[in-house]
C-alpha cells in the first residue's frame, strides 16, 4: 500500500506558473477568509453567540478538495464548518443568518454555527461531537455503494478527532467493504490547546489507516494546487471501487480554537511565520500575478467578495428571529 508525501510545504517563491483553475480557487478561498473575518467581528459585537470556530488559514484544503467532487458527491465535517459550506456553494447569506440565529438561516436559527446542513448541496453537517462525523461519512459512502450510484463521500476530521475510537471502527468497515470515501484529515497542528505531538503517539497521521490497508498521503494543505492534485487522484481511486483513502492535509488555523480561546499554547511568532510564509491565499495571489494575471482582475475579485460578505452580514442582521412557534417544530417527522 502507498503512503506518500506530496507537495512538501513550499515558500511563495518556489511556485510555478498558474493553471486555469487558480482564479476560481483564489476567489473561493478569499470568500471564506472574508466571511470568517466578518463572522469574528460580529461575534465580538454579540450578534453571534455560543461557540464559533473560524476556518481562517485552512481555506486551501476545502477549496482544493471541493473542486474534485462531482455533483451528488457528499460532504460531512465537524463544527469548524463555515468554509465547507461556502465551498459547497451554500449561500453566504443563509450561513451568516444561521450564525446570528435568524429564521432565514440554513437551520432556521435552530442549529447555529456548528449545526448546519444542505440537502440540496449534499452537505451533511456540521457536527459538534469530535469524531462523530467519521462513521456518519462512512455511512454516506455505504449508501453510495449500496445504490451503486458512482458517487463518493469526502469526510473531514481534525488532528484531534483522529484519536477517537469510532474513527478506527469506521476505517475498518470502510476498508472491509471497499467504500467510496476519502478521509481528509485537516491537521492544523492543534486540537484545541493540545499540539499533535502531545496527543498522538505517532504524528504522521496519514499512516493511521495502515492497519486496515488504507493508503494515506500527506499533502501541503496550504497550497491549493497540491490539495487539488492529491484530491483528484484520491477521488479517482475511491470512485473506481478501490476503497477508502486518507489524505492528511498539513494546514494551520490562525485564530484561536473558538472565539474564547486565548491561544496561549503557541507563540505569536509561530502564527506570524505561517501567515507570512505559507498563507494559502497569498500564495495563490502571487502565483496568479507571476503567471501574468492583471492586478486589476484580482482587485475586482476582491471587491466582488467583499460585496457578497457585506450583503450576507446585512442580511443576517436584518432577518427576524425565528417565530416562537418554531420551538416545537421539527422534533419528529410527521408520519
Amino acid at each position: 500500500m502507498a503512503a506518500t508525501r506530496r507537495g512538501k510545504p513550499v515558500g511563495v517563491a518556489e511556485l510555478e506558473a498558474s493553471p486555469k483553475e487558480l482564479p476560481g480557487f483564489y476567489q473561493d478561498m478569499l470568500l471564506i477568509r472574508r466571511f470568517e473575518e466578518r463572522a469574528g467581528q460580529m461575534y465580538g459585537m454579540g450578534l453571534i453567540g455560543g461557540f464559533c470556530h473560524l476556518y481562517i488559514g485552512q481555506e486551501a484544503v476545502v477549496v482544493g478538495m471541493q473542486a474534485v467532487l462531482k455533483d451528488g458527491d457528499t460532504i460531512v465535517t465537524s463544527y469548524r464548518d463555515h468554509g465547507h459550506m461556502l465551498a459547497c456553494g451554500m449561500d453566504p447569506k443563509g450561513v451568516m443568518a444561521e450564525l446570528t440565529g435568524r429564521r432565514t438561516g440554513y437551520s432556521r436559527g435552530k442549529g447555529g454555527s456548528m449545526h448546519m446542513f444542505s440537502r440540496e448541496k449534499n452537505f451533511f453537517g456540521g457536527h459538534g461531537i469530535v469524531g462523530a462525523q467519521v462513521p456518519i461519512g462512512t455511512g454516506l459512502a455505504f449508501a453510495h455503494r449500496y445504490q451503486d450510484n458512482g458517487l463518493i463521500c469526502a469526510t473531514y476530521l481534525g488532528d484531534g478527532a483522529i484519536n477517537q475510537g469510532q474513527v478506527y471502527e469506521s476505517f475498518n468497515m470502510a476498508a472491509l467493504w471497499k467504500l467510496p470515501i476519502v478521509y481528509v484529515i485537516e491537521n492544523n497542528r492543534y486540537g484545541m490547546g493540545t499540539s499533535v505531538d502531545r496527543a498522538s503517539a505517532r504524528t504522521d497521521l496519514f499512516h493511521r489507516g495502515m492497519a486496515y490497508g488504507i493508503p494515506g498521503e500527506q499533502v501541503d494543505g496550504m497550497n491549493v494546487l497540491a490539495v487539488h492534485e492529491a484530491g483528484l487522484a484520491a477521488a479517482e481511486h475511491t470512485r473506481s471501487g478501490q476503497g477508502p483513502l486518507i489524505l492528511e492535509m498539513l494546514t494551520y488555523r490562525y485564530r484561536g480554537h473558538s472565539m474564547s480561546d486565548p491561544a496561549k499554547y503557541r507563540t505569536r511568532e509561530e502564527v506570524d511565520r505561517v501567515r507570512t510564509e505559507h498563507d494559502p491565499i497569498e500564495q495563490a495571489r502571487r502565483r496568479l500575478i507571476d503567471g501574468g494575471t492583471d492586478e486589476a482582475v484580482l482587485k475586482e475579485i476582491d471587491a466582488e467578495v467583499r460585496k457578497r460578505v457585506a450583503e450576507a452580514a446585512q442580511f443576517a442582521q436584518d432577518s427576524p428571529e425565528p417565530d416562537p412557534a418554531e420551538l416545537w417544530t421539527d422534533v419528529l417527522v410527521d408520519a
Partner: protein, 462 residues
C-alpha cells in the same frame, strides 16, 4: 474615516471585561492582525486584534479599567485615507440594533450571588452526620472551590489523580484545574487525547487497581462517548463481582445548558445517571457544597457522577477553609424555609428557585426551596417532611420532562404524601425539544423565573 473599536465578547458568557494593557499607543500605525490590547475576561486573558488598517487615533478606555461592558467603544482607528476600501467599518454593522444574543448573555449575570441560605455543614468520619460548620470561610468562585477540593484531596492521598482533555497545560477548558499541573506535575495531572471512551475506561481500570481517579469531561455532553464504560463497567462491577471489585472514581465536569451553544452541547444528564443503580449522583449549587461534596466524592469508594454547571463556575460564595470540611452525599439542604409551597431544585436551578421565592413573597406566598444536592442517594426524608408541611410542591430542573427528576419526585410524593397534598405536583422543566440556538427560542426552551412563579401560584391557587 474613523472606526470605533468596540469591547468584544470573547466568550459565550462574557458581558464585561477589563482592559489589562494597551499594546499600541495613540498615533501608532496599525495593520490588520496587529494586537491592540489585552483583555481580561471571566476566564482568561485574551488579545484583541485590529481588523482594519489605519492609525490608532484615540484610546477611549485607558488600561486598567475594569467592568467595561461588551460593545463599549474602547478606541478609535482612523483609516489612512484609503477610502476606496469596500469593507464596511466596524461600527456600521448595526451597532444600534444589537438584539437577542448580547442581552441573553447579560441575563445570566443578574443578581449578586446570594450567600448560602443555611450555614455550610461539616461531617467527620460518619458520612451522614451533618454538623454546622463554624470555622473560617473565604469568598471564592465555584471554580476555585472545586480546584481547592481537588488540590486538598491530592495532597492528602497520593492515589488521587486528575485526567481529561486540556486539564493540565491549558489549565482546564473552563479553568477549573488552574495551577494543579504546577503543583502536582504530569504524573498526577494528565492531559489526554480526545478519546473519552478510552480515558474513562482507563480511569475505571485504574480504579479497579486501587487508584482514585478523577475523570474530567470537558462537558458531560462528551461523556456520552463514554457512557457505556460508566454504566457497564463502573456502575455494575461491584455487584457482578459479588462485592469483590470496587471502583472508586469521580466523573466530573459541566452539565446542563450553557449559553447559546445549541443542542449537542446543552443537555442535562441528571436523570440519565440517576436512573442507574451502582452510581452516586451529585448536583451541587453553592461553593461550599461544590467543595464539600467533591471531597466526599473523591473519598467515596463508589463511582460518583459529579455534575457541575458552566454558568455557576463564576459565582462567588463563602467557602469553608478547613481541609476536613465535607458535605455528605445524599443529604438535601433547605436553602430557604417557607410554609406555603415546596420548590425542589438542583445545580444552577437553585438560583432561579431562590429568585422565584422572592417574587412569590411579594404576592404573599412563602416558598420553601430545597437544594437537592444529591440525586443518588436521594434525600426522600427532607422532601417528604417539607411537603407534609406545605402540602404543595413544584419541581424544577433543566432536563426534559419525560422520565425526568420531576417525574421521579412526583411518584415519590404520590406514594408518601398523597393524603397531605392540596394540589397536584407541578413540574417545571426544559421544553421537550432539543435545545435551539436562536436567542429567543433558547429563552423559551429553558426554565425561567417566571415559569417557576407561575407554577407555584398555580399550586397555591393564587
Amino acid at each position: 474615516m474613523a472606526t470605533e473599536v468596540l469591547m468584544p465578547a470573547l466568550s459565550p458568557t462574557m458581558t464585561e471585561g477589563k482592559i489589562a494593557r494597551w499594546l499600541k499607543s495613540e498615533g501608532d500605525a496599525v495593520r490588520s492582525g496587529d494586537v491592540l490590547a489585552e483583555i481580561e475576561t471571566d476566564k482568561a486573558t485574551m488579545e484583541i486584534e485590529a481588523i482594519d488598517e489605519g492609525v490608532l487615533a484615540r484610546i477611549v478606555v485607558p488600561e486598567g479599567t475594569d467592568h467595561v461592558a461588551v460593545n463599549t467603544p474602547i478606541a478609535v482607528i482612523s483609516s489612512d485615507g484609503e477610502g476606496a476600501s469596500p469593507r464596511a467599518p466596524f461600527t456600521q454593522l448595526g451597532n444600534g440594533q444589537k438584539r437577542g444574543p448580547a442581552q441573553e448573555l447579560r441575563r445570566e449575570r443578574l443578581p449578586p450571588p446570594a450567600p448560602p441560605a443555611s450555614a455550610p455543614t461539616l461531617t467527620s468520619s460518619a458520612p451522614t452526620a451533618e454538623r454546622e460548620y463554624t470555622g473560617a470561610t473565604r469568598i471564592m468562585t465555584v471554580r476555585e472551590a472545586l480546584r481547592d477540593a481537588i488540590a486538598e484531596e491530592m495532597r492528602r492521598d497520593d492515589r488521587v489523580f486528575l485526567i481529561g482533555e486540556e486539564v493540565a497545560e491549558y489549565q482546564g477548558a473552563y479553568k477549573v484545574s488552574q495551577g494543579l499541573l504546577q503543583e502536582f506535575g504530569i504524573r498526577r495531572i494528565i492531559d489526554t487525547p480526545i478519546t473519552e471512551q478510552g480515558f474513562a475506561g482507563l480511569g475505571i481500570g485504574a480504579g479497579f487497581a486501587g487508584l482514585r481517579p478523577i475523570v474530567e469531561f470537558m462537558t458531560f455532553n462528551f461523556a456520552m462517548q463514554a457512557i457505556d464504560q460508566i454504566i457497564n463497567s463502573a456502575s455494575k462491577t461491584h455487584y457482578m463481582s459479588g462485592g469483590q471489585m470496587t471502583c472508586p472514581i469521580v466523573f466530573r465536569g459541566p452539565n446542563g445548558i450553557a449559553a447559546r451553544v445549541a443542542a449537542q452541547h446543552s443537555q442535562c444528564y441528571a436523570s440519565w445517571y440517576a436512573h442507574c443503580p451502582g452510581l452516586k449522583v451529585v448536583v451541587p449549587y453553592t461553593g461550599a457544597d461544590h467543595k464539600g461534596l467533591l471531597k466526599s466524592a473523591i473519598r467515596d469508594p463508589n463511582p460518583v457522577i459529579f455534575l457541575e454547571h458552566e454558568l455557576v463556575y463564576g459565582e462567588n460564595f463563602a467557602v469553608p477553609d478547613d481541609p476536613e470540611f465535607l458535605v455528605p452525599i445524599g443529604k438535601a439542604r433547605v436553602a430557604r424555609s417557607g410554609g406555603h409551597v415546596t420548590i425542589t431544585a438542583f445545580s444552577r436551578m437553585v438560583k432561579l428557585a431562590l429568585q422565584a421565592a422572592e417574587e412569590l413573597e411579594k404576592v404573599g406566598i412563602s416558598a420553601e426551596v430545597i437544594d437537592l444536592r444529591s440525586l443518588r442517594p436521594f434525600d426522600t426524608e427532607t422532601v417528604i417532611s417539607s411537603v407534609r408541611r406545605t402540602n404543595r410542591i413544584v419541581t424544577l430542573e433543566e432536563g426534559w420532562p419525560f422520565a425526568g427528576i420531576g417525574a421521579e419526585i412526583a411518584a415519590l410524593i404520590m406514594e408518601e404524601c398523597f393524603d397531605w397534598l392540596d394540589a397536584p405536583v407541578r413540574r417545571v422543566t426544559s421544553k421537550d425539544v432539543p435545545l435551539p440556538y436562536a436567542a429567543n427560542l433558547e429563552r423559551l426552551a429553558v426554565p425561567q423565573v417566571d415559569d417557576i412563579v407561575a407554577a407555584a401560584r398555580e399550586v397555591a391557587y393564587r
